[in-house]
Symmetry: C2
Subunit: 614 residues, 2 copies
């Protein structure tokens, strides 16, 4: 109890310190008069950032002429040599340094009031440090007494979290994710893809001007005196930068990596600020629709291998959309805006989209109605033929090019055996600006996709052709045509998790085959010897890190982690040169001579695999 | 040529625009008088950041009273509604909004000179935009004429690079990296490890105070109105945060992921700002040295499986070091500083380290010499015994605890069969503050490690016990003892790359088994049909994306990518229901009926694998 009283006294004193600092700040009294160098020193020790910002718009520390405030800061910085003074400090420092020392010493006295913003920053910093000390004391107090549990957990909540919109992945989640990704990668590899990697951040200028409105969601890095950097927003723009920079004119690559968007996270919809993208792209100048049809085939194979049926792959073509807009009297400058309105047709009824076109995008009612006639159509090759003989479209070059491309693509889809899941859908528009040809999107059907749970997933893969993006990075504007698909792995993970939960199935998080246990005390070294032998033979083996663990605890560990075999060492068995081999799922136990242990495990493991129990 | 002249004229005009803006800025004339709202609008359109910084130290736009400059900005922002006005703008906006509208309209006229810093920023922005336009025109000019090649490539160099200290990985590098990582992961899995993942960034406060001096190398994210975030600096601190946050008291996990350090990159030494770490850690309160010995075993297995022999694993103990320091008269407050001096013994001779201890760390000559007697010792268990009977140490509690721990560890290393590569080395100290027990470091021996090339790699793995780190994150300071190892995969990759280059071996970047080729024109659809059949049977298959590719080009592709089989379709073969199967490495060709193609490939692939040719 005495310790508690000491703490309470300390908290009271610390509270007083904080109150005084706050009062000083409010009263505007000259809290630090005559000791400006200690203020500077404190600021510098924390970081040069504030001073650098402060000087970024000033020639002198205060007012329009040099004062003693400049001289004091100059002296403080001189003693505090550092290689990387930020740019504005450096500029100011060189300027003040250009005065002879005797002139510097004669700079007139500074005006305290003109330093208000600097002093206030210093006071805020002091206050925040003292408040931290106060909170620490309060934490100590609450952890020393049972009654203040609530306080402690409040403080913990404050510091112990992952950043907004991000999360950790537990071993169970990682096991599921790795399993799903392995199956997706195996499809990419079936189609001969290589993989590359690019840095998580790019020069900001690489990303700007590529995403349209979404650019405001890009994460920037702090300017710490160097290049201006941003976290990658997708994998497509870095891929285009990679091609242009390395002058690569053809490649078929996949890339699975995290991307970053400062979006408003919606955990319930599985939307995070840090998430995986999983992209497959074919770059190169090839004949029409051959790589495009393979991308569709890949989406088809991935969703099939993951058991994501039923699904549909919607197809459309940007040139056809542009042709339709043109034929319906939309000015070319509004194509992208109308496109993004059309894109909302999967979530909103036509009436709303029409309203947006007229009221927000300034389209005439007549034009909107004409567009409405087209974008509500979907079908297969018979629709292509119907549109080819449509009066308004057959005289439009862009529309006819789009339709011919669609005709060829549908034929190739037939050959690749993907036609049963394909829908030519004129309402598909896709958000991104950079698409120039075919676009597609795979959507899961049926509300049973999540094993009964009401998880709405919608689009799980999408992509298209973007022939002009690489050229934006080439000084001679040299194009490398590309087509690709991005698999929405986060949504697929969510569906798989829901399915597993519904089936109450558990994913194994380790691959351990044998657990070496002991039935009596003082057998640690024997256990370690056997583990070492089994490891050296290539087995995946675990044992307890306790010297004398209870047998029950060891066997429970095996059941919890789904380890198929336990080898149990006992003194009498050791003398006989045998061990007990326990088949964990059946709890059957047999005595095996130590020399034939490996063979016995191998044999029994094959049986278990054949049974599907391991 | 006419086009070129037009361009040149445009460049001249644009150059004039830039010159005028620059002159206006220098002359301090009132360039924007009377049209302040357009200045504000331009600033806002670009970003709120500048205005927010500007207002962060000001109550009013200029001077100490409200002026028309406040009224104009207020009106501009009112029309430009946005949900996320940064904090200082908001504070200012609410304050100005608290004046009645009629008072606001009567604010006195602002003083132009007091807006200098704002106007200059605006002018800089304008100048930078016009300069960009100028550069674009110059780029167009240089790409339209052959003679200015140099200019064009200069401009390209400027934008097309990865950020300082980072790099892309090509398919060849990725194939090598994935191969190395797979073998490392297989060792982790042999020992029953699970894997987890954490976000690439953490709240800044999670990282501060954990790395000592190195904290200045942490990458911060820009404050875009939300949490203050930093990129992770290693995987150990996020792991400790994960354990404390999720109240996990025991886990055995590996984590392979990128970390970020704003270090001065040294490409020749393989030091980058973005690089992989590969960590294995065992967390939990267990009996002494059992998990510690397994970490050493894992390092031993990894370096052996990667063929990184000869190597040595140096061992030491922080408690022993502290005991030695104490016995030699070092004050407790200098332990960590002396420790970091000792750590330099692998690169510097004792004389230099001694000098640092005396001159920089303020140690007495006598103390330094005493330390020198100890830290230059190394050996095996006989050294432990010798030190246990050392007069100065045997009365020191910390030293004796360290020695007893070392004795136990060496015994366990004997059992685990790692003793042949182990060295008890008193000069090993390790840089990081958080170690509390055993520490170790694996070093490659011999200058032949890189296949003859002079790549100095040194330490390739290191780690130790850190029992107090998790507690730093727990509100009740609850400890979770941990021991772990970090494998220096970037260095291992570099050694493997050098070895491959020395042996002139090529890594395959795809896993394609069959290439479907055509010998004549107009067989694209037949090719696609066969590909589709083979894909559906699970084969890894590629074909050309050209409609009518040359046979030679197709076969060259197979040789370049190491594809073992080519199936060649021809009209006469199609009629007969057969295909030509070519074994690429031997160039042997056989006719196979289409129905038995899969069986034939399977049989021959097994032969090739047995031969080691595929």
């Amino acid at each position: 109890m005495a310790a508690k009283q000491v703490l309470e006294e300390k908290i009271k004193q610390q509270g007083e310190v904080v109150r005084k600092l706050k009062a000083a700040k409010e009263s505007k009294e000259k809290v630090v008069n005559g000791n400006l160098s200690s203020v500077y020193l404190k600021l510098i020790e924390r970081s040069f950032d504030f001073l650098n910002d402060y000087l970024s718009t000033r020639s002198y520390v205060c007012g329009y002429t040099p004062t003693s405030a400049d001289r004091i800061l100059f002296d403080t910085i001189s003693k505090h040599k550092t290689a990387d003074n930020p740019v504005h400090i450096l500029r100011w420092y060189r300027h003040i340094g250009s005065y002879p020392a005797n002139e510097r010493n004669d700079f007139p006295q500074y005006d305290y009031d003109k330093l208000r913003s600097l002093i206030n920053y210093y006071l805020d910093m002091q206050i925040s440090e003292e408040v931290t000390k106060l909170l620490e004391l309060k934490t100590q107090l609450s952890s020393s007494s049972e009654t203040t549990e609530v306080n402690a957990s409040t403080i913990q909540k404050f510091t112990l979290k992952t950043p907004k919109g991000t999360r950790d992945f537990s071993p169970e989640q990682m096991a599921l994710r790795q399993g799903v990704l392995e199956r997706i990668v195996s499809v990419f590899k079936k189609h001969g893809a290589e993989t590359i990697d690019t840095p998580i951040f790019e020069l900001k200028e690489v990303l700007t001007g590529k995403y349209g409105e979404d650019s405001k969601l890009i994460y920037d890095l702090k300017d710490q005196g160097g290049e201006i950097l941003s976290l990658r927003y997708d994998l497509t723009v870095p891929f285009a930068r990679y091609l242009a920079m390395n002058k690569i004119t053809n490649i078929k690559r996949y890339h699975i990596a995290k991307v970053y968007r400062r979006d408003n996270p919606s955990i319930s919809k599985g939307r995070y600020r840090e998430f995986y993208q999983c992209d497959f792209d074919i770059a190169g100048a090839y004949d029409p629709m051959i790589p495009d049809a393979e991308c569709v085939k890949i989406v088809y194979e991935i969703l099939t291998v993951l058991g994501m049926t039923p699904f549909v792959v919607k197809l459309n073509h940007r040139k056809l959309l542009d042709g339709i807009f043109e034929a319906c009297g939309v000015p070319a400058s509004s194509f992208r805006a109308i496109c993004s309105a059309v894109d909302k047709l999967d979530k909103s009824p036509w009436e709303e989209v029409r309203k947006e076109m007229i009221e927000e995008k300034g389209l005439s009612e007549e034009s909107a109605d004409r567009i409405g006639e087209y974008v509500r159509l979907n079908g297969k090759s018979e629709l292509v033929e119907k549109l080819m003989s449509d009066q308004k479209l057959c005289s439009n070059k862009s529309a006819m090019e789009g339709l011919e491309a669609m005709q060829l693509l549908l034929k190739y889809c037939d050959i690749y055996g993907t036609s049963d899941k394909i829908l030519f859908d004129l309402s598909l528009a896709r958000g991104l600006d950079y698409y120039t040809g075919v676009i597609y999107e795979a959507v899961l059907l049926g509300d049973d996709v999540a094993g009964g749970d009401d998880i709405s997933v919608g689009s799980v893969a999408g992509g298209g052709r973007y022939d002009n993006l690489v050229g934006m990075f080439d000084p001679k504007n040299k194009q490398v045509p590309c087509v690709g698909v991005s698999v929405g792995v986060e949504r697929l993970f969510a569906v798989m998790e829901a399915k597993l939960a519904a089936n109450k199935k558990k994913t194994r998080t380790t691959e351990v085959q044998v657990y070496v246990a002991t039935a009596q005390k003082n057998l640690l070294e024997e256990r370690m010897k056997l583990c070492s032998e089994l490891w050296d033979e290539g087995w995946k083996v675990e044992h307890s890190y306790k010297k004398n663990p209870k047998l029950l605890v060891q066997l429970q560990h095996c059941e919890e982690y789904g380890i198929p075999f336990a080898v149990i060492l006992g003194e009498s068995e050791l003398k006989k040169g045998v061990v007990k081999l326990r088949v964990v799922p059946t709890r059957e136990e047999v005595e095996v001579s130590r020399t034939s242990l490996s063979d016995e495990i191998r044999k029994r493991l094959q049986n278990l695999c054949a049974n599907g129990s391991a």
